[in-house]
Symmetry: C2
Subunit: 342 residues, 2 copies
DNA sequence: TTGTATGCGTTATCAT
DNA sequence: ATGATAACGCATACAA
């Protein structure tokens, strides 16, 4: 039975040259040129022995592991798998592997997991789970590890972010509701500690003000999490305190919860109240009513964040753009209709 | 500005002892006992310097990287994220990191990706994307890397599998349809190159025979992929050639496609034809009609596969069970009703 | 163009 | 109980 893993030494012995020659032959960028036929001979031997480089050893020597870390809040949340695929689609062809961790948006877990990544010597980190205030990742970035945030961003630090145009998204939804005749439009806001929650809320409030629509304090309910239960709770509170004809939710899951609440109360959506989401989760087009929402480029932000990270990893001097904003699209479905006549 | 990463040497210098002493103090299993107060002193220094072990170096020496590979067909398929979380839930507390790769169920990609994992020296592989015939992974397992398959399994090889009780699942659905009065029950089978597709089909055919139900060759349509488009196509073919009152689909996505086909043809589900799925994907309870399906323990199989792998990694002599079967549950929803009176 | 020597950070063997 | 030293596999500065 042949040895488990072949090393450069095995190839060297096999071909009668020195290890360093093999190293150079297999990795042209390493040293000077080797005669072509020797290169061929060495490559043939490597092939024959089924040689695979040991990236641990190489990484120990070069400080590059060809591995990057990907931090995600929770992969079971359907918006993240496409981001991961986008990241992978650019990284894998370049030879990078991805270590993925779920932070559950918990600062404590994040601290832990950043170390898990650093101990493995990742060449860079793509952070889709960043909190608005996130000292640990700032520290890591300052220490020299390339870091890119995606979807979310961190405030007032030099960490590049690839995000969707949430300002535009919110305005598109709002215009659509306005065109349908809605004037009392409420908002279920996303968590305050996430940039997406905060920024969409601000965009909403700004746009509503600019349109001259009424917005009492009770018109915006703050959710604690981006999930269905919170959507339900916030919708209940909203209707207790105000009488909006439409609810603009900070994401699809909040919207699903809100619609469920309306259903449970026997309120028809959209005949009595219209509801909108954000993100365009898969399969939601099959619901009744279909959810009017904003489609964001998940795969796209994944790709761009990876491209950006690669640039930062390969050329530490390159000045990265501080922010990259991708376009969004309004998706009209059945959950929006004209407001009821009073 | 302090050095990027602290090493054992730094701690040694700081505390005035030798590197090997530091290594032993920080990792008790390494060598003999160290005096308690020295251990304390060393740990304090490590803490103070923010020391993190370099797993590359340790792995190079010990051949254990505390990293495992997870191979998945496609993380955007909603059944896989929970499996990943299950895996992570047992691995992460033990200090393991996970490198995840998507194979798209392509043998070519799998070959490639297995090498990506091996080059990084993973201590073991959890394989949720295994094909029924999969020479590459067999080779890796033979070479000594612990491998566990999950959800799917590989035929006739000594690779442990953690799966759901598909035989039971299919029988539960079939009994339910039978109780509702269905006699002409068709099947849209999953891909032949996947154990799940093949096994569910066999379970279906066996159970149908045992129940004495009619099943012409046209009563089973073979899909090429587990997706909605194939569900649509197979449903069309099915109704061209036969007149079943119920369609048992090999998974939810095929069922969604089939239901869409019926809708497109103006055939009411379940009043004219009942349809069932398999897997209980999230959010499908909100559809109309709700999909009657089989709930499988995704998180559970993930956990069990990880536990099994840990045993194999830590004790290579331990005899692993060749198969572990987890229970399933029938979920009754609106897509099944009594057959129409002829 | 190729060989020699050294070190990356750790653990393990041997000595003290 | 602790120190010295070698080795894991590779890349690279230097020598030839």
């Amino acid at each position: 039975m042949k040895k488990q893993t072949q090393t450069l030494r095995d190839i060297a012995r096999e071909t009668g040259v020195h290890v360093s020659t093999v190293s150079r032959a297999l990795n042209p960028s390493n040293g000077a040129l080797i005669t072509d036929d020797l290169v061929d001979k060495i490559k043939a031997a490597a092939e024959r022995l089924g040689y695979r480089p040991n990236r641990l050893a190489a990484g120990l020597r070069t400080n590059r592991t060809m591995t990057v870390g990907l931090m995600i809040p929770d992969i079971t949340n359907t918006i993240f798998p496409p981001i991961l695929r986008g990241v992978e689609s650019v990284l894998e062809p370049l030879g990078y592997a991805v270590i993925m961790v779920n932070t559950d948006s918990l600062a404590s877990r994040e601290t832990l997991l950043v170390d898990v990544l650093r101990e493995r010597g990742v060449d860079g980190i793509i952070h889709a789970a960043v909190l608005r205030d996130d000292p640990k990742i700032i520290e890591v970035a300052r220490a020299g590890t390339p870091v890119v945030t995606v979807n979310r961003k961190i405030e007032a630090e030099g960490i590049p972010a690839v995000v969707n145009d949430d300002g535009l998204g919110v305005r598109l939804v709002l215009s659509h509701l306005h065109e349908q005749g809605h004037r009392r439009i409420a908002h279920i806001a996303g968590p305050e500690n996430l940039s997406t929650g905060r920024f969409r809320r601000k965009s909403f409030e700004d746009a509503v003000a600019r349109m001259g629509l009424p917005l009492p304090p009770e018109g915006v309910i703050q959710s604690a999490r981006f999930d269905e239960a919170e959507g339900w709770r916030c919708a209940e509170q909203l209707l207790d305190d105000w009488n909006p004809t439409a609810i603009l939710c900070a994401n699809d899951r909040l919207a699903l919860g809100a619609i469920q609440f309306l259903k449970d109360r026997g309120i028809d959506c959209p005949r009595q109240i219209s509801v909108t989401g954000y993100n365009d989760m898969p399969y939601l087009d099959r619901l009744r009513p279909g959810l009017t929402t904003v489609r964001i480029e998940l795969f796209g932000v994944g790709q761009e964040s990876a491209r950006l990270l690669v640039r930062m990893m390969t050329d530490p001097e390159a000045t990265a753009p501080s922010e990259m904003v991708l376009p969004v699209t309004l998706i009209k479905r059945g959950s929006v209709g004209p407001p009821p006549a009073d």
